[in-house]
């Protein structure tokens, strides 16, 4: 199933973001970012459906959670997308 990963700088930001999205009815899952997606080492990501991306980004930014990168799953793996 296709999905989008919102990469966060810390587990605190990822968990805060995930809890925020859950409270707003957006299904999500927190997990460690796949190796290769981050230049600086370990990080955490929020996984959501592509349809929820725009509203999720709006909610996260409004609450001071600034993602490091957004990637979408495609046929050849993950590719960075412009965050809406």
């Amino acid at each position: 199933m296709n999905h989008v990963l919102i990469l966060c700088r810390s587990v605190t930001q990822a968990q805060r973001g995930g809890m925020l999205l859950s409270r707003s009815g957006i299904t999500n899952r927190i997990f460690r970012s796949p190796a290769g997606l981050t230049e600086r080492g370990c990080s955490y990501a929020i996984r959501i459906s592509p349809e929820a991306l725009r509203y999720s980004m709006e909610l996260l930014r409004r609450n001071g959670i600034l993602p490091v990168k957004v990637v979408a799953q495609g046929p050849d793996g993950y590719a960075e997308v412009n965050a809406p």
Partner: protein, 384 residues
């Protein structure tokens, strides 16, 4: 045992705290280190505790709530972040060794100690104004004296510091969970507090509220930016190297919820009434000196007193034998005893919590009223 040493640690905890500690031991692993359920439960507990502390203490961003192992650890981070060799520091004459020893260790730090008398807040404010006018790179003020329960005029001192652009560290060790503590309104650089006193968490927990950037005291793994050798530049990771005390944080979260449910004003009023009961009793007796004040705005539920004859430690030992836990001596605060004129023999400290009752306080009064002045340490320990 009737426990009246809550200024050291609140010994009686809400039942939910014990359950949370046990639950964490059973179900939580290291936060920020894995994607499996036990790590994620720890992650969520940490974040939830940060959020609830941020709400209680008016921290605009929960990521500026940093977990430490106690208030001393938090104060050491704050002092290391602000005080450099040769810095000039204004501080109250009621500071704990958790403040004064780290300051003493900074080479060439020049301390301006504001030694205003007990329960005279206007003199304390005037003293801080003079100290800041003389030039200060940082200021440190305890919110409530751990020896005398004296509530210092932190709001006014914070306003002076804001006017002069001097970063302020507030030691909220005795006020967190009892009085309003407001990082945003004070504009403080840092507020430090333990988790195991007025917040009813387990020992080994502390909190640093960060109003500005901080320097790490410890360096190590954070579960973030792992390829880099510099500590992350962002909070809380920058100040939280190593594995968190998850049973402690889970217990602290339960304690914070207990405090929020009861309400600060109710807890404060209860402890103050118990202190008033003992103060009123001691004021009528000639065999005790007592350092109290009947103004609720100036004293919390901590009261110091001393026998006119005999010594404090012997009296505490006698009280312990009779089933009362109070702390005698200098309470790790020689500056406070020097300021109040009690450095010679120290004091006996009564400090209540939400779990003490008026009946317990009355029982202490009855015990203190028995048999005249206590014997001296020499008489007590002479072997015949």
């Amino acid at each position: 045992m009737i426990y009246f040493d809550s200024a050291a640690t609140t010994f009686q905890k809400p039942a939910a705290v014990g359950r949370a500690v046990s639950g964490a031991l059973a179900a939580m692993s290291s936060p920020g280190r894995g994607g499996y359920p036990s790590a994620q439960l720890a992650d969520r507990t940490l974040v939830t505790c940060r959020e609830e502390l941020a709400e209680l203490f008016h921290v605009p961003d929960p990521e500026r709530v940093v977990f430490t192992s106690n208030a001393t650890h938090a104060l050491n981070i704050a002092i290391r972040s602000l005080v450099r060799p040769g810095s000039r520091v204004a501080l109250s004459g009621y500071e704990h060794n958790a403040v004064t020893r780290p300051l003493h260790a900074v080479p060439g730090a020049r301390l301006h100690v504001v030694s205003a008398p007990l329960f005279r807040p206007e003199e304390m404010v005037r003293g801080f104004r003079r100290a800041l006018e003389a030039g200060a790179d940082a200021a440190v003020c305890t919110h409530v004296s751990n020896v005398f329960g004296y509530i210092l005029p932190v709001e006014e001192i914070a306003a002076l510091c804001r006017q002069r652009g001097v970063p302020l560290i507030v030691d909220a060790s005795q006020s967190a969970g009892i009085l309003p503590v407001d990082l945003a309104a004070w504009g403080a650089a840092f507020v430090a507090m333990p988790g195991h006193k007025g917040l009813y968490g387990p020992q080994g927990t502390g909190v640093l509220l960060c109003g500005r950037e901080a320097e790490p005291l410890l360096r190590g793994g954070t579960g973030s930016n792992s390829k880099e050798q510099e500590m992350p530049e962002f909070l809380p990771d920058r100040l939280e190297a190593g594995t968190h005390n998850m049973p402690g944080v889970a217990g602290l979260l339960a304690g914070v919820r207990f405090v929020r449910q009861l309400g600060l004003a109710r807890i404060r009023r209860h402890e103050w009434r118990l202190k008033e009961r003992l103060l009123t009793f001691l004021e009528r007796r000639r065999d005790f000196r007592v350092y109290g004040c009947h103004d609720e705005a100036l004293q919390a539920g901590v009261l110091s007193f001393a026998p006119v004859e005999g010594d404090c430690e012997t009296l505490c030992a006698q009280l312990a034998e009779a089933g009362f836990a109070l702390r005698g001596g200098y309470h790790c605060a020689p500056f406070a005893h020097r300021t109040a004129g009690t450095l010679e023999g120290g004091t006996v400290r009564f400090s209540a919590s939400a779990f003490n009752t008026m009946e317990e306080t009355a029982a202490l009064c009855r015990r203190l009223g028995q048999g005249g002045p206590p014997k001296t340490a020499e008489e007590k320990f002479t072997i015949s």
